[in-house]
Point group: C2
Chain length 311, copies 2
């Protein structure tokens, strides 16, 4: 049983109430607490030593990553982050300076996006640093973008480049908050998600939630320089395209938009975000699952790994 199956099983019958508009199963929970023009976004996310960072990761980067992951989920709903709370599980012996630098990395990022750090708690976690962040944000009433809105005929877009994030990007990425808000204001975005598990997995979340399928064009998928470099460096590395599909931690946006809006978007984007690539990688089709077209033909992405691409 993997994480998704477990969560799906556990969270099937969780208690809810009238304030919750979207609960389990999207990037953030969405709540209506009576703010006249806004809905609330609510999210938690954790990073753990040995899994999301190592013993030698600079503490500022740990703090940055911990908060940036949550901000990326707010971005995926086209929201605005407001305030965060920090829960820090710490080994018994730690340097206050080390913890100070974790907070330093968080604070710098928080300040950049106008986010308050409204509280901090520490507890013991003897073997490794464990950081959980809770984040509260808002979104214009009715303007949140869910995973479930993809429509047949939509064009599928991703920002930035995918794969190879572990070479460094996963510690220093910028959450795509400005990009997501601009998209939501300027275009009718049908569905959106942030790429944390990898293009293959996250696209499937959108497809499942929307009850549709997707066709991708292999050569249109923006594979990162880091993933390409690693493929060239050694035969033991994943092929760069497989890395882009499956490695995860890209923290780019994946979204769908009516096919008829695609050209207008591709025209407007570089004027607004000249430094960030935007790629149309395929389209939404009927059915389910993902088909990938390359020069050798069409290949189905299966649930049991991605046998053709993701050796």
């Amino acid at each position: 049983m993997n994480e998704f199956e477990l969560i799906a099983r556990l969270t099937k019958s969780l208690p809810t109430n009238q304030d919750v508009l979207v609960g389990v199963g999207d990037d953030c929970a969405v709540l209506d607490l009576g703010v006249p023009d806004k809905w609330l976004l609510f999210k938690t996310d954790a990073v753990v030593e040995g899994i999301h960072f190592t013993k030698v990761t600079p503490p500022e980067s740990i703090g940055h990553k911990a908060l940036a992951r949550c901000l990326s989920d707010i971005a995926a709903m086209a929201g605005t982050p407001i305030a965060a709370l920090v829960t820090l599980g710490l080994p018994e012996k730690f340097e206050p300076e080390f913890v100070g630098k974790i907070y330093g990395g968080m604070s710098a990022l928080a300040q950049k996006y106008g986010v308050a750090i409204a509280g901090g708690e520490t507890t013991a976690n003897p073997e490794r640093v464990f950081i959980s962040i809770a984040l509260l944000g808002t979104v214009t009433r009715g303007k949140q973008i869910l995973r479930s809105g993809a429509k047949v005929g939509d064009a599928i877009f991703v920002t930035g480049e995918l794969g190879g994030s572990r070479a460094g990007k996963h510690l220093e990425f910028e959450p795509r908050l400005a990009e997501a808000r601009w998209l939501a204001e300027q275009f009718a975005i049908h569905a959106m998600i942030d790429l944390s598990d990898g293009l293959a997995g996250d696209l499937q979340h959108v497809l499942k939630a929307s009850g549709v399928g997707a066709e991708l064009l292999k050569r249109a998928v923006p594979v990162s320089r880091a993933a390409r470099a690693r493929e060239r460096a050694g035969s033991s590395a994943k092929p760069a395209f497989a890395a882009a599909l499956t490695e995860g931690e890209d923290f780019e946006l994946l979204f769908t938009i009516a096919g008829s809006d695609a050209v207008k978007l591709l025209d407007a984007w570089p004027k607004r975000f000249p430094g960030l690539k935007l790629s149309c990688i395929g389209k939404i089709v009927t059915g389910g699952g993902v088909t990938i077209h390359d020069k050798t033909g069409s290949h189905q992405l299966t649930a049991h790994g991605y046998d053709h691409f993701a050796r």
Copy 2:
């Protein structure tokens, strides 16, 4: 450096914004997000295997305790809990049934208080179960009760009985939500906190935040049956009164109210909450620190342990 000193040092210069009314240093953060008649309460709290529960604690009790601790903090502000998010750090090998029962304990408590569990996330924490809960609540605008409102001449009250919680209560306690809201509606409560660290420590939080001192009457402090039984059972146990002062995890309310309201409160309480003891344990005075009066005289509670009582 203890937890409080560390937090105080780290959180001195955290970023804030106009939405945050109360940040670090109270039971919950208080935010104004524009709900016409309400402010938001925002809290996270963690429980960790080996610290807050053991390998043999029933998983339903782990779930209950994890959520109840957060609810107790919302109670301490006289608030109403709305929605929780659950972050679960799990060892690599775990029984889905075990995790299901943790969620079961949480869900039962959530349902009782109308709280939604609006999302759940799992991550790896190889050596032990680590649960962090984020909770969102509301409080009537301007009616939140802070730690900083205690005034000279106030009577100091506690609900329930203190000490010996580790014998069982810490796993099954009821958050004092109804009691706190009733108090806030019926009386002018000046300051309130929930007793998680122990009467001595938590009272000092109130005194520091309010810039006042306290005098306690030893015989008025409601010492639990569990703490008394343990004192009788063995000389190695803490004296029962010391247990009541310092053991913590009582999750009762401590609050202050004008001395002139004390009799009215003591009269009304048992009609509304016949099953729960309410004790007036002392009064707020000028200066700082805590003086305890017993039949041998007056004793100062010092910052370096509680030498007279808390061997």
